[in-house]
């Protein structure tokens, strides 16, 4: 079977996917929002700085203290006493006129940061991106430029996003582990039910019982139990139908058989008598088939009344052999018995076990030719009761061993009068009593059955009574 959707995998996959998407979308939004806000704050700061500088600087003040100012500006980097900030290198200002740069901060590049156009600019100098604000001072007839390296802003935006995303990155794997744990725990009742169903025998149709179940599973289980009970009753009806039919057939069959025998008794015409004997033979076969059908339905029905007890298989074999001695005698067959004296005790239902033995022996007698030999043994070997049956018949080809156990299967060209149900009855009983059945070919080419039962050590009812 192709592997199909798994609720467990689906849940985990979807949870993972959606939590990634739900993390990514706010992160992108936060990044853009932060960048925008930072830009506004920094831009405002630059405009203000430019205006302040423009107010306090003039050509006169510069002429008076140019030397001092330049010295101060250049010493910023070297002066340890002067408290400065590492971001200062990324901030700069320039003042330049027609005669070139008049004054600038030490962090500024040596050429104008921005063109002589008022407003904001983005430029590149020495592989650094700068954002700058140009202001023209008509009073002094110079350009005042305040600039910032753009990576300052990027760093800040990144830091904000990182602070936001870090907890999520830690949280997602924890969520995943938690989810798969919870999903597994949620599926536990299902797993238990599956184990229960798996361990069932095919005809066991009682309700599935488990302790408290979640609502979702108990609904499924209820539906399943309803189906099981419908199946069980359908199965029971089917078996009951076969059983009823067989019973219903018996009365008219008995009538037909009696009338035929009455006719045979009345008839003094030889050819009529031989026809009537054919008719009687046919009716006998029909009776046998009816009885076998009944035995099949009985063996298949899992009726609770089927009491299991300890049965002496050896005694049962002796009894069956006696009952069928007449049949073997008619075909002048020799039945060699080798039955253990004691200990051949088996736990089984008596009717079923009787069906098994009688069908096995009956089958052997039917398919073994005239004057053939049948060996029938029952022995006890290391905790097992072993039943073997070997005949001098034509045997069965090994590839048909499984098929002869099916109902109504007959080997082609086999002209015996069997019902085609005997070995299928044996198979049913074998399944019920959990015995092992193997077929093989013996030295003479005939069929050899070997059935192994677990030996029971309990006393039989008869022993217990005595």
């Amino acid at each position: 079977m192709k592997s199909r959707a798994s609720i467990r995998k689906d849940l985990i996959r979807h949870l993972l996917g959606w939590s990634l998407i739900m993390t990514a979308i706010p992160t992108v939004l936060i990044y853009y929002d932060a960048t925008h806000e930072i830009d506004e704050i920094f831009d405002a700061g630059m405009v203000q700085t430019a205006k302040v500088l423009d107010t306090i600087l003039s050509r006169e003040t510069l002429a008076q203290s140019h030397q001092h100012l330049v010295k101060q500006l250049q010493s910023i980097n070297a002066d340890v006493i002067f408290q400065h900030h590492h971001y200062e290198k990324m901030l700069a200002f320039q003042v330049f006129g027609d005669d070139g740069i008049i004054i600038q901060s030490s962090s500024a590049p040596n050429n104008p940061l921005a063109p002589e156009v008022a407003g904001f600019h983005r430029t590149e100098h020495d592989n650094n991106h700068w954002i700058s604000f140009s202001l023209h001072s008509p009073k002094n007839n110079w350009w005042l430029i305040v600039g910032e390296r753009s990576d300052v802003r990027e760093e800040m935006a990144f830091s904000i996003v990182r602070d936001h995303i870090l907890p999520l990155i830690v949280f997602i794997p924890i969520l995943l582990v938690l989810v798969s744990f919870l999903v597994n725990r949620g599926f536990n009742p299902l797993t238990k039910i599956i184990q229960q169903i798996d361990s069932r025998r095919h005809k066991h149709m009682d309700k599935i019982q488990t302790e408290e179940l979640p609502v979702e599973v108990s609904v499924l289980l209820e539906a399943l139990n309803n189906l099981l009970s419908r199946l069980a009753s359908a199965h029971q009806r089917e078996s009951q139908f076969v059983s009823d039919t067989s019973h219903e057939l018996r009365t008219p069959l008995a009538g037909l058989l009696l009338h035929t025998e009455n006719l045979i008794a009345e008839s003094d015409d030889e050819s009529l008598t031989s026809d009537l004997l054919e008719l009687k033979y046919g009716l006998k076969r029909l009776s046998h088939l009816t009885n076998q059908l009944l035995a099949v339905s009985r063996a298949e029905m899992d009726s609770p009344e089927e009491a299991i007890s300890t049965i002496d298989l050896a005694a049962l074999c002796q009894k069956v052999a006696r009952d069928l001695a007449g049949l073997a005698e008619q075909k002048q067959q020799t039945v060699v018995l080798d039955i253990a004296d004691s200990g051949a005790l088996v736990q089984a239902n008596e009717n079923n076990l009787h069906s098994l033995v009688i069908n096995l022996l009956d089958n052997a007698i039917r398919y073994t030719p005239l004057r053939g030999e049948i060996r029938f043994s029952c022995s006890v070997q290391s905790g097992q009761v072993i039943l073997t049956l070997s005949d001098s018949g034509p045997g069965i080809s090994p590839d048909l061993y499984a098929k002869v156990k099916q109902r109504f299967f007959r080997i082609e060209g086999n002209a015996s009068e069997g019902s085609g149900l005997g070995l299928s009855i044996v198979e049913q009983v074998i399944k019920k009593t959990q015995a092992l059945w193997s077929m093989s070919t013996n030295e003479g080419g005939g069929l050899h059955h070997c059935i192994e039962f677990t030996q029971s050590h309990a006393a039989t009812a008869a022993d217990a009574a005595s």
Binding site: H247, T251, P252, H259, N262
Partner: protein, 220 residues
Amino acid sequence: MRILLIEDDKLLSKGIKTALTRQAYQVDTIFDGAQGLTATDTDHFSLIILDLTLPTIDGLDILKHMRQNRNQTPVLILTARDALEEKIAGLDLGADDYLVKPFDLAELNARVRALIRRQSGHAEPLIEHLGLAINPANREVQFDGEQVELSRREYALLMELLAHPGRVFSKAKLEDTLYGWDTEVESNSIEVHVHHLRKKLFPGLIKTVRGIGYKLETSL
């Protein structure tokens, strides 16, 4: 020997009646449980063959009723069900034997013979009486070693008297036994059969008890 057959299946009932009639039994048939129950109460039979599944009253209930009323007539149960429990239930209620359908004619005859024999107090299959030797299995009658041919009714009459030698049987009872309900009986038919039996066997065998009926002589 009069047998009551309570079986609702007409085909089977007719087959059994034909078969048993050939064995010189008088067979009366009833197809319904309630009528069967009445018949067991009012008439006397040597054997009742009882089917278990019957309309109106179940076979086992008829059996129960009979035994409760101290009716000791042997009962042979006919059943389509061969489950052990049902056989045991039938026997426990007082049935004397059972036959599972379908059965062989030979088996039916053998069981009927055995039940009637036991009821008459004979355990052995051959019946011997004052030089008579009767084998119910093949209905052969010998007198002093000589084979004697008897008609079906003559044989039936002899067997009925042989069941209780020395007991007086009324003419009416003998008519019932020989003819059941379904045949018109001529008024002197029993006398005719007795006359034939005396002639074929020996005159002193059957004694006429005036005004009452007949009895079988117990000693010569």
